[in-house]
């Protein structure tokens, strides 16, 4: 094969691409507007199941016994309702969003950094909470929030919550840290051993720190940053970079680093600390004085689902006291259902995860998708939208 053939093929591909790209320059794909969504919720009543349900879930949220035969709450649901469940798990909110957009799923467990995108993109429908009896027992601190409710319309059922804590290796940190400062400041003793979360939404963690250390920036909601505030957060992240050992995306990797001491401090989950401590008390977890970001996941229903009855049966089942308790323990989060706290196998589960302490959650800022229209109510400025968060994060990580 000679050089010119290879080049010719390359040129051919490029030319064909340009031609196609140019031709269709006028059309736009549907469903992409940022206008307020308008759709009506299912009126009910919830009747006979359709026999099938496609579930898109965080790993550990919809266990069917295939990972561990003892961990299975999907099979009882199938027996009870006749809805055959197909589970697909995803690794990141972006992946979940992408899969929902492409269709084929009836329900999804969406974190706050995906839920609003799903609502505004028109991929999910409002949820009629009166058709979900267990909704009544859900902690009020999780209801009608920015990430699950738009203009007073509910778009999903809260599932559970957790805070993104400061995790630390006890050998490296003789006294328990009370501030995020060693993860951010250049003179940190943890230099070279810091582990931040590898996702654009982590920019909000920088904003949380800035809320405490640079009050004159006027940040009140870490997901609602105008250009100046956003730039300050990015600057802080640049400052953090030399401190970083590894960014983490899977918690097994982070737990391994924290337990061995190759990571001194990191932002992570209570669950990660529990895992790292399975071999001994090596890792601590704390919510520093500045507050923390957190997540509250929401079960949402796809707009064009064909299995609406099965979907509503699932929403109710998954937040029922016993099942919600099982999931909360397996996944390591605070349950959404108040009654679940009495049903956990570890009596201290709710205390350990602060499920009932609404005070604890006041300075936990749940993941929310940043939008151009500021979420904190400001109308005199526009805020940096999520796409630019991703773009800035990509640049930061590649540099």
């Amino acid at each position: 094969m000679r050089f010119k053939h290879v080049t010719a093929l390359g040129v051919g591909i490029a030319a064909a691409s340009l031609a196609v790209a140019g031709c269709s320059s006028s059309s736009t794909s549907g469903g992409g507007s940022s206008a307020a969504p308008s759709a009506s919720a299912y009126a009910g009543p919830v009747g006979e199941g359709e026999g099938e349900l496609n579930v898109l879930a965080w790993p550990g949220y919809a266990e069917d016994g295939s990972t561990d035969p003892k961990v299975d709450w999907v099979t009882p649901f199938e027996k009870e309702t006749g809805c055959q469940v197909n589970v697909k798990s995803f690794a990141t909110s972006n992946e979940a969003y992408d899969l929902m957009r492409k269709g084929g799923y009836d329900v999804v467990s969406a974190s706050g950094d995906a839920s609003l995108r799903l609502v505004y993109g028109g991929y999910v429908q409002p949820v009629n909470t009166s058709l979900v009896p267990n909704y009544a027992d859900i902690f009020s601190g999780l209801k009608d929030k920015q990430w699950n409710t738009v203009d007073g319309v509910n778009y999903g059922i809260p599932h559970g919550r957790g805070a993104n804590l400061l995790l630390f290796n006890k050998g490296e940190n003789k006294t328990e840290p009370t501030s995020w400062k060693d993860m951010w400041e250049s003179n940190s003793p943890a230099k070279g051993k810091v582990s931040p979360y590898d996702d654009a939404i982590y920019i909000a963690d920088a904003a949380v720190y800035l809320m405490a250390t640079q009050p004159d920036l006027g940040i009140t909601n870490p997901y609602s940053l105008d250009q100046t505030q956003f730039d300050a957060a990015i600057k802080l992240l640049d400052q953090q970079k030399p401190l970083v050992a590894e960014y983490w995306a899977d918690y097994a990797k982070q737990a391994n680093g924290l337990a061995s001491g190759s990571i001194s401090q990191g932002q992570g989950w209570q669950l990660t600390a529990n895992v790292a401590n399975a071999d001994g008390d090596k890792v601590g977890a704390t919510k520093p004085s500045e507050g923390a970001t957190g997540w509250s996941d929401t079960w949402m229903v796809a707009k064009d689902t064909k299995n609406i009855n099965c979907a509503y049966k699932w929403l109710d089942y998954i937040v029922s006291p016993k099942v919600n308790a099982e999931i909360a323990e397996y996944f390591g989060e605070a349950p959404a259902n108040e009654k679940s706290c009495d049903l956990t196998s570890n009596e201290d589960h709710c205390a350990q995860f602060h499920a009932k302490e609404e005070d604890y959650w006041t300075n936990v800022y749940y993941w929310t998708t940043p939008t151009e229209q500021c979420l904190d109510g400001r109308t005199d400025v526009t805020c940096v939208p999520y796409k630019d968060w991703v773009s800035a994060w990509t640049t930061l990580r590649s540099a």
Binding site: H5, G60, K102, S260, A278
Partner: protein, 265 residues
């Protein structure tokens, strides 16, 4: 080849070192399958048989294994047909565009998996109605073609045209010649190619992530989903250790098969 004693010893030493390089990590996998630590602390704080017991009970692993074998078998079969056809065409005919075709065959493996994955994902989801079992098989078959093609055309080139000509001189048609002369001579190369293609498909994760439909779990996907759940990660080591042990035999047989034909007699 006449090699000096020193050369032989040096090469032997390099071989031993590379084997060490290859097998120490695999040994770590096997040891970790007995490690009590959920985060694979090293040295292991203790040993347990629990993971092996739990892996044997695990339905998910068995189902994923079957899915993987199924996908790899179908993909390899498709690749065998397409790869052999192309190899015959490209070695026996000279024609305009031959170069471009051999480049096209190489592309699916030469372009990074993530490019192939994203490209197929975009096409399947936005134009062909979503991901299924079939899309996964199609993706795997596509990058397996090149392996079969490589093996088949190498053998065909070595075979040369003499046998074919002799056969046709003796009055056989092209079809008869193919089945009676060409194919039997290619068989061992095809088997070796098929083993490689099967292995390639069996362990593929990147393209698989982008092309598997909902609810379809190949073994690498199962491993991917489970490695990130600490309760499950040790079982993954068991599965990997078992795979290593189980796979030595077929590879050995395949190697003998292709060696019998090519060995420097």
């Amino acid at each position: 080849m006449i090699l000096s004693r020193t050369a032989k010893w040096t090469l032997g030493a390099v071989f031993a070192l590379v084997m060490l390089f290859i097998y120490v990590p695999l040994l770590v996998v096997v040891v970790n399958s007995f490690n009590v630590s959920l985060t694979f602390q090293w040295p292991p704080p203790g040993f347990t048989m629990e993971w092996w017991a739990r892996a044997i009970d695990n339905v998910g692993v068995r189902e994923a294994l079957l899915t993987s074998v199924g996908v790899a078998l179908i993909a390899t079969t498709i690749a065998l047909v397409l790869g052999t056809l192309t190899a015959v065409a490209l070695t026996q005919y000279a024609f305009f565009g031959r170069q471009s075709i051999s480049l096209l065959i190489i592309l699916p493996i030469a372009l990074p998996g993530i490019v192939t994955g994203v490209a197929l994902n975009t096409m399947f989801t936005s134009w062909l109605g979503g991901l299924t079992y079939l899309t996964l098989v199609v993706a795997h078959a596509t990058f397996c073609i090149v392996v079969i093609f490589n093996n088949a055309s190498a053998r065909l080139r070595r075979l040369g045209g003499n046998f074919v000509e002799a056969s046709m001189d003796l009055g056989a048609t092209r079809t008869t010649t193919f089945w009676r002369v060409t194919f039997p001579n290619m068989r061992s190369a095809l088997v070796a190619g098929a083993v490689l293609a099967f292995g390639l498909s069996f362990d593929e994760i990147i393209v698989t992530t982008f092309t598997a439909g909902p609810g379809i779990q190949t073994l690498p996907l199962w491993i991917f989903n489970n490695l990130f759940r600490p309760q499950q990660a040790p079982i993954v080591n068991v599965v990997a250790a078992a795979l290593i042990l189980v796979s030595i035999l077929p590879l050995y047989l395949a190697q003998r098969l292709s060696d019998d034909q090519t060995g420097d007699r």
